[in-house]
Symmetry: C2
Subunit: 645 residues, 2 copies
């Protein structure tokens, strides 16, 4: 309830795992508040309270969001609102450095959550980032190396037991100790079954989660946010305390070093109302932290510790509790529930195989986790590396790779990955890497609409204010007309934020033909630096007198004179490629024939959204698969492709 | 000698490791013969003979080249010259698919060489590829997963000893068995020293190798290729058989399970002229395969097995033999010598630390390898993962990361990575990711030179033949002029190879105004498919009559109507970004003012080469660091940057 209340009333942006928001940000979508200081604080306290309440949620996603927040705050030079600023941080005050910092922050979060420095880098590379370059790889790697060294130092420091549960497991969280991992051809069928099962369960997990989240959105909109959290919390508690009654007591195995029944924290054998020397296996699964349950499921030589029906019951509970817990208005991660659920059905398959397979049930649990991760999150290399770093068992790698490949392939037949789904559900205008196939039939001019707002190289203040007030555009083409040039030519592109700076500083002059002043003396690059994500200047904050409105501004020194341009007959697919690969915000469209204005339109992210394009050209909806254009378009596409490479 | 002879006389492209060639190919440079069938065969036999001759060369690089060759041959539909073709392979006959295949092939090569499936993917991602997308990650991962499963099956099959040395070590090549890897703050200084040493030794390794290769080029040009190989081979043999005499015999340690002195192959204790129960430690290092020597150096609990001076002697020999062996006209890899040399000085540092450090000398050897790999090849994540997969020791990861970071940072202060150096030395026009700083002062029109060859939409055959014969360009702008259009407009870009297809098929018509014929009936996309890398049509192969020369071709259906364009005033830096990120071959330059021709130039890879740009604008050479432009250019750059993100 605390987690839900602080999230709902202080920082709604802190709800959920935060991974979709970071993914959207790394695609260029700067949603408000997602990296604010308030969100950071709520996220930290929220996830602590949510996880400690035994809600079936993970902590990896929120940890990633936390570290990304910290990185972003560094990137915007601290939080001015809370007086936490630092002067030397101003060098990072631009979009590019901030994005790099957030990327490194995200890597650090995953690296810390799983104690997996390489897995963290690869997770962000594979699942989150939209652009990647080798310099970034190197920086991200540096970040996670520091994480690893610091973690290692803390674990060393905490070895004496000063830090509670932290550091007990050492650097490897779920050590898989089956010494002799030998597998043969006969083990392949169950592994393939696991992969297929992981694909099916993963895609249905995503499907159900999508439906549940839509339902929750309705409920939350009606103001029942806290009630919903209370309900889920009560259901979870009921499952935890009620279901173990269904399992029967089992006698303690003989010849084990562990205490049985265990009274302590992480033991495998919980007493739960059983007679002495007996334990309840379902309670052993429920009454542990998620981490310890995973450790128990992964551990070798415990093939007979669990009853088949207990495992089935736990699997069903874990699967559905994971789904219903995610959508609450509270910080919550998906990773740990997914790993746990996967481990459960993996172990179940191991039990069903019985003596047909030589593999230990603990190894089956690891493969189950891999298959469910592959089925829901559709990661490949990063799952393998994270599991490798979690379990420290390299010999299992070929099997893990196989199972992840199968589960991802199967799941991809049904729907998209969970993060893509969440990004879409949140309504972010996410720019996919590849254009839709039907975009090849359109040219750029087919999607350019609306009247274009153009500024002159030397423009009247009144006009600028009017344009800024009446439109929401963030970039405006600047045109030079006679007498400045012989004929109208495109001078460049100016950003709304820079116009606001000029208006604020009242950089005006009286007539169009005034002498030039040295702008470099009046402005420094700091003036145009990227502001924090919370502070957004608006045109209404700027008050100008009538006399000032009649004056004019020379926009030339502040205009980007090298904007990227495309000709209006350019294929939309290729414009999409240009826009996406170069990470642009504005793309100017210039005319093919010379008799018209020097710029005919401006493309932004929204012009490439499939919904928008299909809205403009509804005939493409049905004709997407029409064979009529097939041969021709193949040949045309072929020629277009040849221009690349 | 066999390796050198077949390389020199059959396929000179098979010399060296092949990694620079693959790197250049993945950057878009299609050098002749590097992926031909001949090269493949010579590479395979050459590396077998070279390694088995005890030359100090590795096999990882050539294995990467081999697999890349196979991938490329698949991509071009087999080898038509040797009648090894397959019809369904024709779908891959385009540059993009071929590049993807070569990438996956390269991953498979490293994965097989080190039995490191994830390391293989990361190595290619970090060091070789110029473009990367998540679909490729997933395909590369699939490839290496298959490699891992097949390797695992072979090792299983060979466990009974049917396959000689193969598979003896299991999936982990150099298992580091030090069970209790515990390290403390006191171990940090030697680790840092190792990192710094690795950086210095690595950069000097690259520097000396560069000089040696330049020297070898002179020698080889004079025809002494085989003589050089013979000399190096004799020097290697002299070192192998002569140097162990300098080491004194050591008594066998007591209480070991291994035979001492060992007569067999891979033992740690070689007899070499010693009395019974004695061994020669230097001979133990020399008279093993490189793999076994590395295994011996990495093995735990052998702290007293080697003498300090033997290790120093072996280090010096290994360092210089590695350098002089690489440049021979024979297949040779760099990886294994680098790992070996690194392991040697790592162990030396361990010995020098003595009791000051709690770390095992075997672990020092691993860290030494990491530092030397980081110092020469400047890889980060991939070194860590490859070493992790080679040694199966996850607990060492934080130290490995630290040492790699330090050695890379130190080495980057002096020179560039070994592969960058080799690519430059071979004269490939490699397009760097980032433009040179001084390019920001230039516009596109500053580098466009020479008369532009333009074709009309409907062009006379004679003109086309003339242009193709007199220029070497690979792409030509196509212009529509009145009466086809109202004013001259840019229609698109046509490739030389497509013009050759049209001329070969004699797709002519008699007059400019003839009726249109359906080109889709006369041509299929197969006709324009990318040819194998060896077969290159030239204009001189096509014979045309005088009558045909007077006819014309309608180029419209074969023209790429959406070429990427930049305005002539575009900053060269931004044009470079566009060209590089989109992987273009041609970039059209259009005029700013409308009064001129619709296209003013065409940019290719060569126009972005620093040598070319500096040749055109020599004043930039000295002025690169001038502070005069500093403030202004900073502000301008700032505005340009803002357009992105």
């Amino acid at each position: 309830m605390i987690a839900s209340a602080i999230t709902a009333y202080i920082a709604p942006a802190a709800a959920g795992s935060g991974i979709p928001e970071v993914k959207a940000y790394l695609n260029g979508i700067d949603a408000p508040e997602i990296f604010s200081f308030k969100t950071l604080v709520v996220k930290i306290f929220g996830i602590i309270t949510a996880v400690s309440s035994s809600l079936h949620v993970g902590k990896a996603g929120p940890m990633l969001h936390t570290t990304a927040c910290i990185a972003s705050l560094l990137g915007q030079g601290g939080s001015r609102k809370y007086r936490l600023t630092c002067k030397w941080l101003r060098y990072f005050k631009n979009d590019k450095d901030r994005q790099d910092l957030v990327t490194c922050g995200a890597c650090a979060g995953i690296a810390a959550a799983f104690r997996a420095p390489i897995g963290g880098v690869l997770f962000v590379l594979e699942s989150l980032s939209s652009w990647w370059r080798s310099a970034l790889l190197w920086r991200a790697f540096f970040t996670t190396a520091v994480v690893a060294v610091v973690l290692r130092a803390f674990i060393d420091f905490c070895r004496s037991g000063k830090c509670g549960l932290f550091g007990k497991g050492g650097l490897i969280m779920f050590e898989v100790t089956a010494d002799n991992v030998s597998y043969h051809l006969v083990d392949l069928p169950p592994v393939i079954v696991l992969g297929v099962l992981g694909g099916i369960l993963g895609s249905s997990h995503n499907f159900i989660l999508d439906k549940i989240l839509r339902l929750y959105t309705h409920v939350n909109e009606k103001g029942y946010r806290l009630l919903l959290a209370a309900c889920v919390s009560i259901i979870t508690s009921c499952c935890l305390f009620g279901l173990p009654w269904l399992a029967s007591c089992r006698p303690c195995p003989t010849g084990i070093t562990e205490a049985c029944p265990s009274i302590g924290r992480s033991g495998n054998f919980k007493k739960f109302q059983c007679a002495p020397d007996h334990y309840n296996d379902l309670a052993s699964l429920f009454f542990n932290t998620n981490d310890d349950t995973i450790r128990n499921l992964y551990s070798a030589g415990t093939d007979s510790a669990f009853n088949k029906y207990s495992i089935i019951l736990f699997f069903v509970t874990s699967y559905f509790l994971g789904i219903v817990s995610y959508g609450l208005v509270a910080p919550s991660g998906l990773f740990v529930p997914v790993i746990l659920t996967g481990a459960t059905y993996g172990r179940l398959i191991g039990m069903l195989m019985g003596s047909h397979s030589t593999l230990d049930h603990g190894l089956f649990a690891v493969l189950g986790s891999a298959s469910f991760l592959g089925g829901t999150m559709r990661m490949t290399v990063s799952v393998c590396v994270i599991l490798l770093e979690l379990t420290n068992n390299l010999l299992l790698l070929p099997l893990v790779m196989l199972v992840v490949l199968i589960s991802k392939t199967v799941a991809d037949c049904f729907n998209s990955s969970i993060y893509d789904m969440l990004v879409k559900l949140k309504g972010f205008p996410f720019l996919q890497r590849y254009a839709q196939p039907y975009m090849g039939q359109l040219t750029v001019s087919d999607v350019v609409t609306g009247p274009l707002q153009i500024l002159n190289g030397v423009e009247k203040v009144g006009n600028i204010v009017h344009i800024l007030k009446t439109t929401g555009h963030n970039g405006f083409p600047v045109i030079d007309e006679p007498p400045i040039s012989d004929c109208p030519i495109l001078y460049g592109l100016i950003l709304r934020s820079h116009l606001l700076v000029l208006l604020k500083k009242k950089f005006f002059r009286h007539s169009i033909s005034s002498d030039e002043v040295n702008v470099f003396e009046q402005f420094s690059s700091d003036d145009f630096a990227k502001r924090g994500s919370v502070i957004r200047d608006t045109i209404n904050d700027i008050l100008l007198t009538d006399e000032e409105m009649e004056m004019s501004i020379d926009l030339h020194p502040f205009t980007n004179t090298s904007p990227y341009t495309v000709v209006e007959t350019m294929s939309l697919t290729k414009a999409h490629t240009l826009f996406r690969e170069l990470g642009l915000r504005h793309l100017l469209v210039i005319p093919k024939s010379h008799s018209r204005a020097p710029v005919v339109g401006i493309l932004t992210r929204h012009d490439f959204m499939p919904e928008y394009v299909l809205g403009l050209h509804p005939f493409l909806v049905g004709g997407r698969n029409k064979l009529l254009h097939f041969r021709k378009s193949t040949l045309i596409k072929f020629f277009s492709d040849l221009c690349r490479f």
